[in-house]
């Protein structure tokens, strides 16, 4: 479909065209009046662009503050925009034009060379062959990551792992005053996020479903710090009701009652770390978590 010819079925009975400039069908034309003021605007804006460009380059190279060379660049760009716009609108008529929308496509085959008669089986077989080859090419995806195995079902905690702070200091129950909270790691795995544990001394003795065998000194308990909802660290402890609170999605856990969820989008308690004390009086793990740490999967 070319622009000059209307298809027979759509021969416009009334064309809106008032004038033609070359191939352009004009319906309205507005010539700008000669104006000295406009020249002044273009001159002024273009000068602003020059100053902006120089200001940006010199300011940047001379170590001026960001506010200076940034503002110069902004002024330069905005001024150049004004100059270009005013320059064009003063030099050319404002034209409203029309163009015919493309009509229906000519019929006929897309290619003129047609196949000679043959059995259709081979064509289909070829398509299957290409498909199988293509599917085979997906295999390298498996190389992109290790097989998960049981990596997500265990953490770095072992029987006898000492609890250490982020600075590597081991802790004894006496280091925790009532309401005290500290983030601890298995010794040798500081910063291994899935092993992050929150160690607390509660204001009162914890009750069911807290595992009492893993409570030290009546009120010291340790829970996984990784939220069972979306895996954020459960960063906040609200002392008045012994609530652990995740700032990401507001899951709230009751540290008195086995860290069961009391509000928010999570459905599962924070796993409790089997906690004990070694011969030197340091807090240690009695083993890895017995429940799934972090968000659900599988």
């Amino acid at each position: 479909m070319t622009d000059g010819t209307a298809p027979g079925s759509r021969q416009p009975e009334t064309t809106p065209v008032a004038d033609e400039i070359g191939d352009l069908r004009v319906i309205a034309r507005d010539d700008p009046p000669p104006s000295g003021a406009n020249d002044l605007i273009v001159m002024g804006a273009a000068s602003g662009a020059i100053l902006g460009g120089i200001g940006f380059a010199v300011g940047l190279l001379a170590g001026a503050p960001l506010g200076f060379y940034g503002a110069a660049l902004a002024v330069g760009l905005l001024s150049l925009g004004v100059a270009v716009r005013r320059w064009i609108t003063d030099r050319f008529p404002d034209i409203d034009a029309v163009e015919l929308r493309p009509g229906p496509e000519p019929s006929g085959p897309i290619a003129d060379v047609a196949p000679v008669p043959r059995r259709s089986f081979l064509g289909r077989f070829l398509a299957v062959a290409a498909g199988v080859l293509g599917l085979g090419l997906i295999a390298p995806v498996v190389s992109l990551g290790p097989a998960p195995g049981d990596a997500l079902r265990r953490t770095a905690w072992r029987r006898g792992s000492r609890l250490v702070t982020t600075d590597g200091q081991p802790l004894s129950p006496a280091d925790l005053s009532p309401g005290g909270v500290v983030t601890v790691w298995p010794e040798g795995a500081i910063g291994d996020e899935t092993a992050a544990v929150i160690l607390l001394r509660l204001s009162g003795e914890p009750v069911d479903p807290t595992n009492g065998d893993w409570v030290v000194d009546s009120t010291v308990v340790a829970y996984s710090k990784i939220c069972t909802h979306a895996g954020c660290p459960v960063g906040l402890f609200r002392e008045q009701d012994d609530a652990l609170f995740c700032p990401c999605h507001q899951s709230t856990f009751d540290a008195q009652r086995g860290a069961i969820p009391t509000f928010g989008p999570t459905a599962r308690a924070l796993p409790q770390l089997p906690l004990g004390v070694d011969d030197e009086g340091n807090l240690v793990a009695l083993g890895d978590f017995t429940e799934q740490v972090g968000p659900a999967f599988g």
Binding site: P16, G63, G70, F92, V98, L144, G145
Partner: protein
């Protein structure tokens, strides 16, 4: 034309025969309306993103290995930081212009995604998705998703505290896929979070894979607009079904686009001077096991964040798979929303028995189903987004977070259907009052 330019033009024209196609392009008629500029601003933002991004790429180090920062910033001087974060601190404080380009890049990213969304809204509101433009509409939806991915990976690259939280939640989302979640997460992240592979990989996604896909998709998007011609608003006395009315590319549309490019650039630079975009100093680097308050993603992902916050606590095992809240909130819900966007053009065509092609834009109130679809879908997304600020609102208003969460849960479920039904009834009454029905053929 200056003689030099004329000589260059003649030399090229003599060999490439540019005159005829050139005149055709220059005479091409562009319908005019301010809302047609939204997509153009998105395109301009993308160009600015690529230009500033090239500068940033020269300095960024895609690694989380600890290095000691030894530059001018006093807060971080002598500290061990993840290499990615360190390289950005260095770019910000020790490279002249580094901070300016970072801020422009960030501001352009916000503008890019905002205008892509507004452009999509314009297309849906006015019915520009109707036959024969469904394919281009779908390309636009793909571009929106690519823009989200580009924004999220860019947000993650500094490896600051917020980025760490975002990556963590994205990892959980993948993990929550039934059956294959753990493999999927390990394939994309290279292992268990926080693996050292995530930043190098996000870097490849952000500077190579996603921009490449977006450039390809934009080219096809513009190519289809050129081939199928632009839609236009109705104009008295002209059959818009037959005629395209507008201004020729040269000079009017050229002036429009050139000034838009310069002005959008100017405004972005000005915003970079006035607004401390991309200020990561307050955040500090990602540290394992830590997360701060106000852990919000960028605004365009608030709807997903809100869904994660509001979805009720659910976790169950069935058929050997574990299904959890994050899977519904972060995978099923967005898939349904996207699917709704994708199928809507066909639904509208079928419900109203539409025939033929449509080139003239409409008032959405003239098509009750579309008004209801818009209010329902986007009302839902906006309420979910509001839900992502429940912690901030709770602190601001002194209302317990539990109460606010329940308010948003109820609003998100009840509000959109009510709004949809309301606007549906209103637009039907409005049509009836004017004695009109929904047109099934364009006139």
């Amino acid at each position: 034309m200056t003689p030099l330019f004329a000589l260059l033009w003649d030399t090229l024209d003599d060999r490439l025969k540019l005159r005829a196609p050139g005149r055709k392009v220059a005479n091409k008629v562009f319908p005019h309306h301010w809302s047609f500029l939204l997509g153009e601003i998105a395109l301009i933002s993308f160009v600015i993103l690529v230009l500033t991004g090239i500068f940033l790429t020269m300095f960024y180090r895609p690694s989380i290995d600890p290095v000691v920062y030894s530059g001018a910033n006093e807060l971080f001087g002598g500290r061990r930081l993840p290499a990615a974060f360190e390289s950005i601190v260095r770019l910000t404080y020790d490279v002249p212009g580094g901070l300016l380009f970072r801020r422009i890049h960030r501001a352009a990213a916000h503008l890019f995604i905002a205008t892509v969304i507004l452009h999509l809204l314009r297309i849906i509101l006015t019915g520009a998705f109707r036959k024969p433009r469904e394919i281009n509409y779908h390309l636009g939806v793909v571009l929106l998703l690519l823009a989200f991915a580009l924004g999220f990976t860019g947000y993650s690259l500094p490896y600051d505290a917020l980025a760490g939280t975002g990556i963590r939640i994205a990892y959980t989302e993948l993990l929550s896929t039934p059956y294959i979640g753990d493999r999927l997460a390990f394939w994309i992240f290279g292992g268990e979070f926080p693996t050292g592979d995530v930043i190098p990989r996000f870097f490849v996604f952000h500077v190579l894979l996603l921009p490449g896909l977006i450039i390809g998709a934009i080219s096809a998007h513009l190519g289809l607009v050129a081939r199928q011609r632009h839609t236009q608003f109705p104009r008295v006395g002209i059959d818009g079904h037959r005629w395209i009315v507008g201004k020729p590319l040269w000079p009017s549309q050229f002036a429009e686009s050139a000034t838009l490019l310069l002005w959008v650039g100017g405004v972005l630079v000005a915003s970079a001077v006035l607004v401390p975009w991309a200020d990561i100093v307050l955040q500090g680097p990602y540290r394992p096991g830590e997360v701060g308050n106000n852990a919000q993603p960028d605004w365009y992902l608030f709807w997903l964040e809100g869904a994660l916050r509001l979805f009720p606590p659910i976790e169950f095992s069935v058929l050997g798979m574990t299904v959890s809240g994050p899977f519904f909130a972060g995978a099923v819900m967005p898939t349904l929303v996207i699917a709704l966007l994708v199928v809507y053009p066909f639904v509208e065509r079928r419900v109203y028995g539409l025939e033929g092609e449509w080139h003239v834009l409409q008032n959405p109130l003239d098509i009750p189903l579309r008004a209801a679809f818009l209010i329902g879908t986007f009302g839902f997304l906006l309420l979910l987004s509001a839900g992502a600020t429940n912690d901030i609102l709770s602190r601001l208003w002194g209302v317990p977070i539990e109460t606010l969460t329940w308010v948003f849960r109820i609003l998100a479920l009840v509000g959109p259907p009510l709004g949809a039904v309301g606007i549906f009834a209103y637009s039907k009454r409005r049509l009836a009052a004017k004695g009109q029905t929904v047109a099934s053929v364009e006139r």
